[in-house]
Amino acid sequence: MKCYIHLLILLPGLLYISSLLTGCYTITRTEEDLYTITQSDTTIREEVNNPPGDRDNGTIYPSPRTVKIVREYVQRDSTVERHYPAFLRFGGIETASFLSSGSGDGGGNGLFGLYGLLNSKRTTATKLYTANMYRFTPYEIRLRWFNDSPNWTIGTAAIELFVRQNDPSAEWDADESLIGITPIYVRKRYFLREDPPYIMIVPFFGFSGPWGPSYYVNGGATFDVGSYGGLNFRAYAGYIAGTSSLLSNESNSGVTFPYFGVGVSALDFVNKTEELFIEWKDHDHNALEVSGLNVDIVRAFSDASDPPLTGLILRFASASIPVPIGDRRWFVSTSMFNLMALNSTDIAFGFLPLRTGYRLNLVADELNLEPFGELTYFPSTAWHFGLRTMLKLPEIEQIGFDFPMTFNLVAGLLSGSTNIDVLSSFEDLQAPNDFTTPYIGFGIGIGDDLFTPEEVMRR
């Protein structure tokens, strides 16, 4: 259990460092046009003040006429700003599992480097994927060289981690891991499909920055499918060589291995070069919802003596893709990770659950109701049916909430098993094999962007 507490501490830490580093990323390019209406206006005012009394003709007098000329110059400026995406790729988290050299003993981190994360300590098990990759907030921009040869990108990531396990232990020793902070990558894209989801072959070459902590070079190619609602699937083939000697007392702890595998990334948005010249407001959307984190506080009705609030439901990195039938309100959806801890015993969690639902607009586009069904299949097995009401919250830039948020009301029924027997380090958890528990609750979606079926149907 301690291991997972450490993981829970580590994950926000990594996300925090990522957010600091990604603060340097340019997401939006702004262009301005200045328009000016200038009015030149001249007012001529003539006054004749005849002096009283008689005048003798023939005598030269000063003229009684005064002329005032006032020139006015009125300018009205207006500045028009246009906002464009500035990136070819801006991502959340990318994970992968590799077939490689190394030890096949021990639990391993499983397919996509995800499914085995919670049972990796099972030293008696064997694993197929001996290496993994985790990359936080990858970012790519246009690289214009070789006479503006198209589809080159240069990019980085806040942090990336390559692990090749040499022994049954789940610990990552210095001779098993390479860690890069803002490594540099150059990629060239060859598109096989030029409409979302893009299909492309992407050869790449990268290396860690001189600041370490590991030093390595990494070359290869990926076969990318995505992004669709920020969701991508990739196949990898590559070779990485380097050292993590700074992280170890042993100065010769080199890590070198070829790898072949598959991966997934969420909240990972890919643009073509042409899309950099389409204003944000005119961009096509292909998901009904893209969400960073949804947290709902719930009350489970499993025991009458329960306190008013008993647990939480958490979804991390979700995307809801409309099914191209009818008016695009029916969707299929998944998340990088979901946790349904309704109380201290009725708990289920899993990676990449399968979800489907239907979007109903209650009030304009602001208040929506979604009946949904969800299957979490690993490591826990659970069916989850419910209703989710989502209210779009306005962005409040003055206090730093300049990202989309929602307020949610949820009600549902969760039925399944934690599958405690497939986990490791969860001995303290008192989870029954089977439970069926209704619940109600409320919560917020952070970075939860809702799009209308009309916006999605523009495509």
Partner: protein, 197 residues
């Protein structure tokens, strides 16, 4: 290994410096700078020594670089007297557009000065074409464009060819377009403070 990677990183960074915005030019004119943007294919506009060369059909937009305007006498980028020393290297001439923007540039917008060896003309904002009794020269000439308040003037050398009024808003860019059969060379650009005219 570490040192090799550090050197590799520095070399790579230096190599990347070569990559740039191919379509953007910074034109240094005395104590101020102008921003030039090839709004057609960037390959249609090239630098030839200290000159700018525009290939047939190429479009090049020029404005005062707002980042340096405070170093200059310009109060406003949307009012100017701009002066281009330009030669027609081949073909018949060029179009100069004022009171337009580069964003999704549409040649039928704004006010256009057609500078051609077979006769100059002005296309006004309402689409009327006004022929001018002047033929362009292929040799270097000075073309002046004044945009001040609602006033627009086009001059070549000392000849004021057109003086008219416009209800269009003043905008920052002058867009120079080589005619489809023409190649241009811009040899000097100057912007003057309209308050000192």
């Amino acid at each position: 290994m570490k040192h090799i990677l550090s050197v590799l990183f520095l070399l790579f960074t230096a190599a990347l410096m070569v990559g740039c915005d191919y379509e953007r030019y910074q034109l240094v004119v005395g104590d101020y700078t102008l921003e030039g943007i090839a709004i057609s294919d960037w390959r249609d506009v090239s630098r030839a020594g200290s000159f700018i060369r525009i290939k047939p059909g190429g479009r090049f937009a020029v404005r005062v670089d707002y980042q340096t305007q405070y170093l200059t006498q310009f109060d406003n980028q949307t009012q100017y007297l701009a002066q281009f020393d330009m030669a027609v290297l081949s073909g018949t001439g060029a179009n100069f557009y004022t009171r337009v923007v580069t964003h999704q540039f549409e040649p039928t917008d704004g006010i256009a000065f057609h500078y051609a060896i077979d006769g100059c003309s002005v296309r006004t904002e309402d689409g009327r074409r006004i022929p001018l009794e002047f033929n362009a020269d292929t040799e270097e000439e000075t073309i002046k464009i004044l945009s001040k308040a609602d006033q627009v003037e086009f001059s070549v050398g000392c000849d004021k060819l057109y003086e008219g009024l416009s209800s269009l808003e003043g905008t920052e860019y002058i867009i120079i377009e080589a005619l489809p059969d023409s190649e241009l060379e811009i040899r000097a650009i100057n912007y003057f403070d309209i308050d000192e005219l």
